[in-house]
Amino acid sequence: MDSRLLALVMVFAPLSLVSFGGGQAIVADIQYQTVEVHSWLSNQEFANLFAVARAAPGPSTMIVALLGWHVAGFWGALIATIAIFLPSSLVMYFSASWWHRNANSPWRVAIERGLTPVAVGLVFAGAVAVMRAMHMHPVGLAVAVVCAALIYYTKISAYLMFGCVMTLYAALFYFQLI
C-alpha cells in the first residue's frame, strides 16, 4: 500500500475507536495529527476544510474524506472514510447485539452513565481545537455562541443560519472589517 494511504489509516482508524460523543470528539486530535504531526496542511486550510465538511449534509466526520483527498486524491478520501467509520461501526455492531441480550444488566446503566461525561469533555475539547486552529476573532466567537444558543433553544433551520452568518461575513469583508 502507498505509504500515504497507510499513514491515513494509522491516523484515523485508532481515533475512530475513541470518538465517544461523535465526530466532534476527535476534531482536536485530527487537527493535531494532520497539521502538527504530519504537516499535511496548514491550520487555515484545516479550518477551511472543517467549514466545508460542516456545510455539506452528512456527518461532520466527513472532514476525513476531504483530508484524505488533500493527501492522496480519490483513494485517500475513500481509505480515510473507511478508516474512520469501519472500526467504530464494528464496535457499535457488537455492543448493540450485546445491548439487546443484556437488557437488565447493571453494566448497561454504568456504561451509559460512564461514557456520557467522557463524551461531553471530548465534544467541548473539539470546539476549542477548531477555534484554536482558525485563530478565532471576537466576531467568530460571538457568532459561535449565538448559534449554539439558537440551536439549543430553537428549531431554527441550519441553512437559514448559514445564510445569515455568510451575509454578515460578506458585509464585514466588504467594509474591510475582517
Partner: protein, 172 residues
Amino acid sequence: MTAFGGGTASWTYRELADKRGWIDQNDFITGLTFSQVMPGANPVNLALYLGMELRGGIGGFIAVFGLVAPAFCLVILLGLFYNWLSTFPITSVLLSGVAAVGVGATLSVGAKLAQVMLKRGEIASRVAQAIIALATFAAIGLMQWPTIPVVAVAAPLSVLTALVIRRIHGHG
C-alpha cells in the same frame, strides 16, 4: 437519505417512527443515547442501530452505506468546488463564518449531552460525572494531551465509578 444535516436525529425519527411506524419511541430513544455515547459519528451509529433493529446485521450495513455513500459524494463535490473557489479571498472569510456556525453546533451538542448527564441519577453520580467531564475537557482541550491515552484511562475509570456508585446506592 442524504438530508441528514449534522445532528438531525429528529428528522430520522419523523421518517421512521411517525410516518412509517417501523420503530417505537422508546426503542428510538435508547438507540439515540447509545449512539451518542459509543465511539463513532452519531448519525452513522444511529443508522446502524436502527438498521439492525429492523433487519439484523444486513439492515445495519445497508443503513450505514445508505448514509455514508451519498454524504461521501457530496462532501467530495463540495471539496472540489472549494478548490476552485479558494482563489478568491472572500472564500476563506465566508468559510470562517461557516466554521463559526460549526463550532456553535458543536457547543450545543455538548450542552445537550451535559444536560442529559446532569439530570439523571444520584447526586454522587452527577458530581462524579461532572468532574470526569471537566477533567477530560481540561486534558484534551486545554493541556492538548493526545485523545487516545486520555480516553483509554478516562472511559474505563468513568464506567467503573458509575458501577460503584450504583452498588453503593443498592441498585444491584
